[in-house]
């Protein structure tokens, strides 16, 4: 029972941060129907921004993390407004391929740029709760992991509120139904896409800054995030925020329970196995629809 509780707690805690990564990627899938392969690089930018804001300016760590989220938002905005601009300003024949090539190239460029500018070493900031905490008498967990979990859920909650209750969210939902239809009724697609990218960048950077105290910052950190995020969106369903949330928890629980109850040597395999299972049984993902409806 104690093992079950520990596994469940750890799976839920990791799942919250996975969900934050997946939801950001899925927002772009939902709104623009393209994959942002620079999502991992935005996570990396968040991690480094938190590090330099904290060590370079002496800001309190909480403020440094907020600054990192703002930097991530600005970076996400630039990805769309500058590098994907052609999608909106000219008629690109194969927009999905175009976005894939551009964001993948950006991801490679940012990884190399990180090595060239900040070096290849590992960096870390102290977290907000640097102690191991006992929960329910038999569960032990890092305080920073709890902070990351709570922060992740708060941000996902905020995103859901924006989607459901604001004009921007209503605009995004219109885009998920029909890009052409949204244009016909006068919505500024480019502006809404920029805002979606900025929001996605903020979520990725938030994950990066919340997890630097646990996982460190280093130039290659974006690649595993991208890999996990892609599994999450496939499990949860392309373009669905709820799917990203559930996919994050499903992936983390699959990894933890697989490690605890099957074999710890294959921890990374369980997520891929879950993804393959979903692709076989329900290709649209748990929360995806065959019509690609999203947020």
């Amino acid at each position: 029972m104690e093992t079950l509780l520990q596994a469940l707690s750890l799976g839920i805690a990791i799942g919250g941060t996975y969900a934050l990564m997946g939801v950001g990627l899925n927002l772009i899938f939902g709104v623009m129907r393209i994959a942002n392969f620079a999502h991992g690089a935005l996570y990396m930018i968040g991690g480094y921004a938190a590090f330099y804001a904290f060590t370079g300016t002496g800001l309190p760590i909480a403020v440094a993390m907020l600054l990192a989220i703002a930097v991530g938002g600005a970076s996400g905005y630039l990805v769309n407004a500058v590098f994907l601009r052609q999608l909106y300003k000219t008629r690109v024949e194969r927009p999905i391929d175009f976005a894939f090539i551009v964001t993948f190239a950006l991801s490679m460029f940012l990884g190399s740029a990180a090595i060239a500018t900040v070096g290849s070493g590992y960096k870390r900031v102290p977290g907000l709760w640097n102690e191991n905490v006992h929960l329910f008498s038999s569960v032990q967990m890092s305080g920073n992991r709890i902070v990351a979990f709570v922060g992740a859920l708060a941000l996902i909650g905020l995103l859901l509120w924006v989607v459901k209750r604001t004009d921007i969210g209503r605009g995004w939902r219109a885009l998920t139904q029909s890009l052409t239809g949204a244009e016909v009724v006068g919505l500024d697609v480019f502006r809404l896409a920029n805002l979606a990218f900025a929001t996605s960048g903020m979520l990725a950077a938030a994950a990066g800054s919340l997890l630097v105290p646990i996982y460190l910052a280093y130039p290659g950190m974006g690649s595993w995030v991208l890999s996990k995020s892609l599994i999450i969106v496939v499990i949860g369903g392309l373009g669905s925020i709820g799917g990203g949330l559930v996919g994050g928890f499903a992936l983390a629980l699959a990894e933890v329970f697989g490690a605890v109850y099957i074999d710890p040597n294959f921890t990374e395999v369980y997520g891929f196995a879950a993804m393959l299972l979903i692709l076989l049984r329900r290709p649209q993902g748990l929360f995806g629809s065959r019509m690609d409806r999203a947020v």
């Binding site: 596994a7 290849s120 191991n132 460190l216 290659g220 595993w224 933890v256 490690a259 921890t267 990374e268």
Partner: protein, 390 residues
């Protein structure tokens, strides 16, 4: 007619003299000895790779100032393997074809080095390892690969001796799934018995969080006496923090000097206090005259004392020199064969490459002594020696 004959004779003599002079110059300018140093110059271990290149450049200055090798200049060709086996192979092959590289050395991980060794096996190009510890990096199937330095089989054996001496009977190895990590874990597990149980938990080299796989370790009926951590990836630096987060109170042991890196303390905090790790060293008493000369050259140039791997790398470069001197050739196959028969005085004793079938020992010249160190306080740059292990 007479004038013409005199002119012709004079011209002929001038031509002959010119030819003789040219021949003399050619005799003096033999083809250089070109050694390729392919290291990781841009990845996480780039500091080590950059230092290896600096050391090789120092060797070239030193040997050329002494007149070169058998009338030949010693030259280097440097490349960055980017921690990528494919890049390593393409770079190495290009160096051999375009730059006439005769042999290779450098600091590379066991995996990418093994891929390279297999890819160039048919060329018989000699490769001298000074840093690469994988058991599979040497062997009868790789006759042109030689090693000066420690290897996993040796470290595992010495560590098993130490663990058993401490009467630690239940050990878990957290091993990165790489040529280095898996190799070490397999070697240590092979030394296990009824009184010395070794369990291995492996993880992906890109993994950042070992927590899921630590839950079953923490929930064992009896916690292990020691958790040995082996790998190079990001998880190694956060391993101590994750082990303690999981509630595992066992002794943590590293298999190389990662606890000396600031990144480790930044991630580990108090969880790193008490961590033990193995390292190799060369004592002052064992330094040869050549070793003392190297130490002075190195210290003068870099402003720090050489570490163990620096001595090994210097000995590797010396081995190339000795093999060329012995054969008078820079033909790869000839030099490679000469390597196997070499016996020379290295920086800390005699170097020779014995064909020992023990895991990792083939064509390997052991050097230095293994020490177990322990970090008594948070943030220390170096631990205290707790034992010299034999």
């Amino acid at each position: 007619m007479k004038k013409a004959a005199v002119f012709s004779t004079g011209t002929a003599m001038m031509l002959v003299s010119a030819l003789m002079a040219a021949q003399g110059a050619m005799a003096q300018e033999k083809e250089p000895v070109v050694v390729g140093v392919i290291s990781n110059l841009s990845g996480p271990e780039s500091k080590l790779g950059t230092e290896a290149v600096g050391l090789a450049e120092l060797y070239v200055e030193h040997i050329n100032a002494k007149g070169g090798v058998d009338g030949r200049k010693f030259e280097l060709v440097v490349g960055d393997n980017e921690n990528n086996p494919d890049k390593f192979i393409s770079l190495g092959k290009r160096f051999m074809q375009q730059r006439n590289v005769m042999g290779f050395t450098g600091t590379a991980g066991s995996g990418e080095m093994l891929a390279f060794e297999k890819a160039v096996k048919n060329t018989s190009v000699p490769i001298c390892l000074s840093y690469t510890m994988g058991n599979k990096n040497v062997g009868p199937d790789l006759p042109s690969v030689f090693r000066i330095g420690p290897y996993n089989g040796q470290v595992a054996k010495l560590m098993a001796n130490y663990l058993q001496k401490k009467e630690w009977k239940n050990v878990v190895v957290l091993a990165e799934r790489s040529a280095f990590g898996t190799d070490f874990a397999d070697a240590l597990q092979a030394l296990g018995n009824d009184d010395f149980k070794v369990d291995v938990v492996s993880y992906d080299p890109q993994a950042v969080d070992l927590s899921p796989m630590l839950v079953p370790v923490a929930r064992q009926e009896v916690q292990p006496d020691a958790v040995v951590v082996v790998g190079y990836g990001p998880a190694i630096y956060t391993s101590a923090a994750r082990i303690r987060e999981a509630g595992i109170k066992s002794q943590i042991i590293g298999t190389w000097e990662f606890p000396e890196m600031p990144e480790f303390w930044s991630a580990a905090g108090d969880a790193g206090v008490g961590i033990m790790y193995s390292t190799f060293g060369i004592s002052e008493a064992t330094l040869t005259a050549g070793g003392k000369e190297f130490r002075k050259l190195f210290t003068d140039k870099f402003g720090r004392e050489p570490v163990f791997y620096d001595y090994n790398e210097w000995d590797c470069l010396t081995a190339f020199t000795k093999a060329v001197e012995k054969t008078g050739s820079i033909d790869r196959e000839t030099v490679s064969k000469a390597f196997g028969d070499l016996t020379f005085e290295g920086t800390s004793g005699e170097i020779s490459f014995k064909q020992d079938p023990a895991p990792g020992a083939w064509n390997s010249s052991k050097a230095g002594t293994m020490f177990m160190l322990q970090m008594g306080k948070s943030g220390l740059p170096k631990g205290e020696i707790v034992e010299e292990i034999r």
